[in-house]
Symmetry: C2
Subunit: 459 residues, 2 copies
């Protein structure tokens, strides 16, 4: 930590004076102080440690997610935030109960799998069938609409590891696509190679959605070593598997967003946040306890300045993100009449790796503001990114309604090693990387909360 | 592979001439040829690929271990070995059926565990109790013989990562010790931090044994992240857990050793081998499919020389190693009258890492032979080790009866990351490391099978 701090000090001396022309020197100095404090604070890690220990897994719509909301409200109170509230909405219940897949011939053995979120169960007693393997989802789509009757489809598509996570968007299509395309072709079930980049015996879960008016077939993901094993067995001839996947779906249940604020002098809103729910297999440390720690920790550092910002800083712990951005949509609906007062939205939801890039989604004539903010963040090892920021999954619904967005893009090189697996636990987080994230979020948030201008078009 | 071969060629030129004085030049040249062929052969990897794919997990005494013996006999036939046979013995049956451990208060969540081999079940419906934590097995032993009534003991002892695996001998004591010491003190169950060095969510199984005439309490191992989680929960106060561990023990069942030979000109025996059984969670790739691949592959390369060795080379696939060297003891018993004809024994059972050291267990006056053999192996990056070779677990019983032993010691730096976990799968093996092992075993075995002298004391 000390070395990192010295690194920062040395480089900060060289910080481009350009920021001063755009951002008030007092604000720049306060942002520098926040960076300094963030790099030397453990608060982000402490928050994710608390959440993952005291709640653990917290699947959308479950009693565990309710305990997470209680934890969130309590944590906000403990940290002395204002306007703390939980805002309920409803979500479709889904929980896994039992999952067991085995090769029954020619080489009897169990395979490590996990049922994908939203999947239906297998019939009582399970189902069995011969595997028909496709190297990609596209290959399955290219297959005739009949000919897979009674078969279990296996989509053995790989995911590419990248720093920015671009491999995910491509690979994740099979998560819904495999069951949908298998069902259309008369197959009885689908298996996929996990959407992930690791080589451990963890299956990666994640949400899938059935298309309307098609035969719903159950679908599960194999861990990478198990996908390899199935592939090797198939190289030797026909392979028959048995699937027993049991899930429960109770209909609508309660979920909610937990919100707190640092009140500003105006009712303009700077929104930062992360999602509170996690998948059920791990303790949701990198997805997305880290984001909760980073954004709540950053806001706490700002509160500790004991200065009232011009704009209100709102911290949102979104509920039910994993099952389809349900909390984000509820937020957009609830606040639709005040979205024009939302200056910017930024969610931290890509693990706990260091931030390496500052992306904006601003009106072209306001890009100079993004450049000026970036100059303050640059000594943290953060480059200026593009102007296509998504802002994070839960910012999507408000961004689509015109709210400018920022992504403080994290290094995701190993994010998909752990994503949606049982192995997403606290030990996968490096506290010093968390501190860099907290420093960046604190500085960014403070600057934006005190700027005179906004990021929308002036036209 | 090519680079490695060139490396070998360059260094081989510098090979000490000393070997020639002790080992016939023809044998030295043949050993060089075997090293060359071994480094350029994939046979070891192909054998472990076959075993782990076509059999998979193969727990001692199960139908799967029987299939492994069938595989072994078939593989020996396919490779054209002689005197192929399966030699049966009986073993105590034990299989896990169901295991589920959860924190029930204050932070309800599941923990990743695995029941230790030999453990009894929990009562029907499971059991629950407060955790009493001990940092080491010694701390538990130091506790009074009462005071743990109704409690669940947690032994949170760490294992040290070392190249040679010396951390295992210390850490593994808790595998039996935790339940024994807990039972003596009135506790109802025991949990241990897994005997392992990884930080993934895999619990490490392994055999435990109850002392005579004590209360048998069930025992399971937590993955490292789950042990951390329990530790963090305990830092916050009392923790109650519920354990449901169900195992089946049917009594005596059949197991066996699978043996094949390359007949020599004499009835003297050079024994190399590995164990065929594995734990049930993984596919037994590094433990000990790798050893099967290395030793069978090495013997096959020797057969391909098309030369009859002076001594008979015997390859043994030991059964039921994991549950207490049952196959090794059966072998020692069966061959006790011919052990004086066993020139040396060497088992490969420490994963698939590169061999870095050549240990012997020879009479002092025969150490010069070990040194001479070592000189042939040295270009493979193998140093001369000590004279305390165990020969490998399955060599123990015959070594104790006077058979000289050799250990071709592998790099075990990451061995205990995977050892006895579900993650012990083929992808953890580097084929080029396997090739180095095959080369070393082939050369060693060929030399010893053709030496004039032996390694016993001349007194």
């Amino acid at each position: 930590m000390l070395l990192r701090f010295l690194f920062f000090v040395i480089f900060f001396v060289g910080c481009n004076a350009h920021s001063k022309d755009v951002i008030d020197q007092i604000i720049v100095d306060e942002a520098k102080l926040l960076i300094n404090r963030g790099l030397n604070s453990n608060i982000g890690f402490e928050i994710v440690e608390s959440l993952t220990t005291e709640v653990g897994p917290r699947l959308a719509g479950t009693e565990a997610e309710k305990r997470a909301r209680d934890w969130g409200e309590k944590k906000f109170k403990e940290l002395e935030f204002s306007n703390i509230r939980s805002e309920p909405f409803s979500v479709d219940h889904w929980e896994r109960r039992h999952e067991h897949v085995q090769i029954i011939s020619p080489f009897p053995q169990n395979l490590v799998v996990t049922t994908l979120g939203g999947s239906v169960s297998t019939p009582t007693g399970g189902l069995s069938g011969d595997i028909v393997s496709f190297p990609t989802l596209q290959a399955l789509k290219d297959a005739p609409l009949s000919g897979l009757e009674g078969k279990v489809v296996f989509v053995d598509e790989y995911m590419t590891r990248t720093q920015g996570g671009s491999g995910y968007g491509i690979a994740v299509k099979k998560r819904s696509g495999a069951a949908n395309e298998a069902g259309k072709r008369g197959a009885i079930a689908a298996l996929i190679r996990s959407v992930g980049t690791d080589h451990h015996r963890f299956a990666h879960t994640g949400q899938m959605t059935y298309e309307k008016d098609i035969k719903k077939v159950p679908v599960a993901a194999l861990s990478a070593p198990d996908a390899d094993q199935l592939q090797r067995a198939l190289e030797r001839g026909d392979v028959k598997v048995k699937l027993s996947l049991h899930v429960e779906a109770k209909g609508k249940v309660e979920s909610g967003n937990v919100i707190a604020e640092i009140p500003g002098l105006t009712d303009e809103i700077v929104l930062i946040g992360a999602h509170l729910d996690s998948w059920d297999l791990g303790t949701g440390a990198i997805d997305d306890g880290a984001g909760i720690g980073i954004t709540v920790g950053a806001a706490k550092l700002i509160m500790d300045l004991n200065k009232v910002p011009k704009r209100t800083i709102r911290v949102v712990m979104f509920g039910s993100e994993e099952v389809g951005l349900v909390g984000a949509r509820a937020y957009a609906e609830k606040y639709k009449s005040s979205l024009h007062k939302h200056i910017v939205g930024a969610e931290s939801d890509f693990g706990a790796g260091r931030i390496w890039k500052f992306d904006t989604n601003f009106a072209p004539e306001k890009l100079y503001l993004g450049d000026a903010i970036h100059k303050i963040l640059e000594p943290l090892g953060i480059g200026r990114g593009d102007n296509n920021a998504s802002g994070g999954p839960d910012i999507g619904p408000i961004r689509e309604l015109g709210v400018p967005a920022v992504t403080l893009k994290q290094n995701g090189w190993d994010y998909f090693d752990y994503h949606h697996t049982a192995d997403d636990t606290l030990d996968k987080i490096d506290p010093s990387d968390m501190a860099q994230n907290v420093a960046a979020y604190a500085a960014f948030t403070w600057i934006v909360a005190n700027l005179d201008d906004d990021f929308r078009s002036t036209e």
